[in-house]
Subunit: 394 residues, 2 copies
Amino acid sequence: MVLIMGKSRVAMVGAGMTPFGRLDGKDLLDLLCEASMKAMESANAFDKSFDAIYVGNMAGGELCDMTGVASVLSDRLNMIPAGADRIENGPASGGSALRAGFAAIKGGLANLVLVVGGEKMTHVSGSRVTSTVASLTHETAEKIYGVTLPSFAGMLTRLYLEQYKYKMADITLAAVKNHRNGVNNPYAHFQKEITLEKALTAPIIADPLRLYDCCPVSDGAAAIVLTAESIAKEFSPEPVYITGSGQATDLQILSERENPLFIGAVAQSAKKAFDMAQISPKDINVAELHDAFSILEILQSESVGFFAPGEGPKALARGDTEIDGICPVNPSGGLKARGHPWGATGIAQAVEIFWQLRGEASKRQVPNEPKYGLSVNFGAFGNNVLTHIYERGG
Amino acid sequence: MVLIMGKSRVAMVGAGMTPFGRLDGKDLLDLLCEASMKAMESANAFDKSFDAIYVGNMAGGELCDMTGVASVLSDRLNMIPAGADRIENGPASGGSALRAGFAAIKGGLANLVLVVGGEKMTHVSGSRVTSTVASLTHETAEKIYGVTLPSFAGMLTRLYLEQYKYKMADITLAAVKNHRNGVNNPYAHFQKEITLEKALTAPIIADPLRLYDCCPVSDGAAAIVLTAESIAKEFSPEPVYITGSGQATDLQILSERENPLFIGAVAQSAKKAFDMAQISPKDINVAELHDAFSILEILQSESVGFFAPGEGPKALARGDTEIDGICPVNPSGGLKARGHPWGATGIAQAVEIFWQLRGEASKRQVPNEPKYGLSVNFGAFGNNVLTHIYERGG
């Protein structure tokens, strides 16, 4: 096959995902296959010859005894001899896999790529999940003191409340909104509303964060079919283009960061993505942010450039980030309601934007034909972040 | 920074590695840092702003409790805000990381990239190493029967001996050659010669393979600095270009492959790489093959196109693959003598080719100013293979 070198745009031409939740009886490979088949079906790509597969997965070796899962997937999906790699970047493994697929097409190494992310988590104990995530913290400056990611989020929440004079209700409103959005997402782990009152009196997880401020432990997978622009219309009359991809790292030790409430890696990855896409935050019509904890949606909505520092909760209270607001955030329900199978999340965000920009999100559809989308996938505790920008094709 | 889009060539401008072996007192991160610093020093790149880091690592989570190691490395090397991902492709993780760096530059996502691969293995039991590798086999068709990778290699050896009428000595000669080459490699795990007699009477590992037919368990890391061609000379007057990169998968279950002695993924990845580089196997002046077992050097030397099927042992016996032969293979000592820290190997192969093409390999230097190099990195048991082709710049 002749490969197309150069600056071709990268098109998303198909997308699919498994339901997220506790999926007993399906292992990691089953989940990856199911999501991949749905994306291939959506792209009418079953009889096409894929050049490459990128698998976003954080801990298949640690939790599932599955090292080398990408090679196996190529065989299982009948995609041999496509190259296949697993990309691991903690909870941003999905975003990094999407960027790997983007780079392969941009670089002329592939014309047709499957990007799939997934995680199987519910078969192990909660403490094992927590300790696996805690391995992302700094060994001697953080981990030995018993710090976990929820406790980091709790500390940031406390700092934010004090610095900007908010109450917890102002933050938890993000979780209430996302639960409400999740009701209309048939793939969401939680499809039920919660009241603010219930959330504010739920058990404490990491003070001041309570149960409903935290995302659940979920199984699931999501997949995207990417092509070079020149062949996109062979697969879909309505491709969605990835026009910006930015990635940035930051200091690992949270206490070393100059201002932990302004997440540098979000800001820098977003700047790179916006520069590449040649648009600005005000142009975005729909966004998926990485709300593993309610405070993170607020912080990211500021660091990415939607709202000024300290203004996130006001925008939330005004309804700006509602599905019918001026800047809809997490119409899918976000990590909060859709769930957060680590390696799947970055891809699931792209899947939601794909559906939203094509007007296929049914009851949770953002109105007025959104043209530009954005996703932020947050690795480790904000020290390795991916921002992607998407544009509806025509 | 302005990124260069398009079909720039990709230059290697610096390389470095740790010694391979049992490196007590150094953890995975220490090894990755040490190799990276050496590569940066070799490229005069300490004060330069890197765009991306790709870490080849197979089992840092499984064996070292280090998930998300790429993010940490960016911080430790003072490379923030460079993007950083870990690439996992079993024992070919290093080759896949090299390809990821290649794609990032080709695709205009980066101008200056660090690619580093490493593994820490000797701190756990041999049985844990073996069971981690065995997770690459097929769960129900292979693994439950107790099959390990050494036993696969033993079966292929037996088949080869019967099909082409060779004796074990004809195969083991590859290990003897590689041990001899390793004597002159100060980074090699084993720097001593072995005699054919000793090798043929050593303890059996997986009949008919004996101790010296098998690579050791080693710690180590290796790193390369890559740049876009347009800025290569800022870093080095003598860049080495990566002119071909090919990756291919094959059926996971060994018994399903039509001819297990002709390794399809090697042949297909090599064809892709040769097509991209627009040269052919006879042009190669120095090669690093993935001799995890002595039979694999023979099989790969055939499947990649150096010799016809069944002719590998004759070429070996004639001295064709010696350092001063017409097709030098594994002047570094290969996996056999240099050692095989999984994630490091694919990068260490590129490091050796870098040194060879620049005439910097001292006593193991391939004569007559080699111009073209090749490396084959073998993932799982030949079902996910990377071939890279290199060309000396001027």
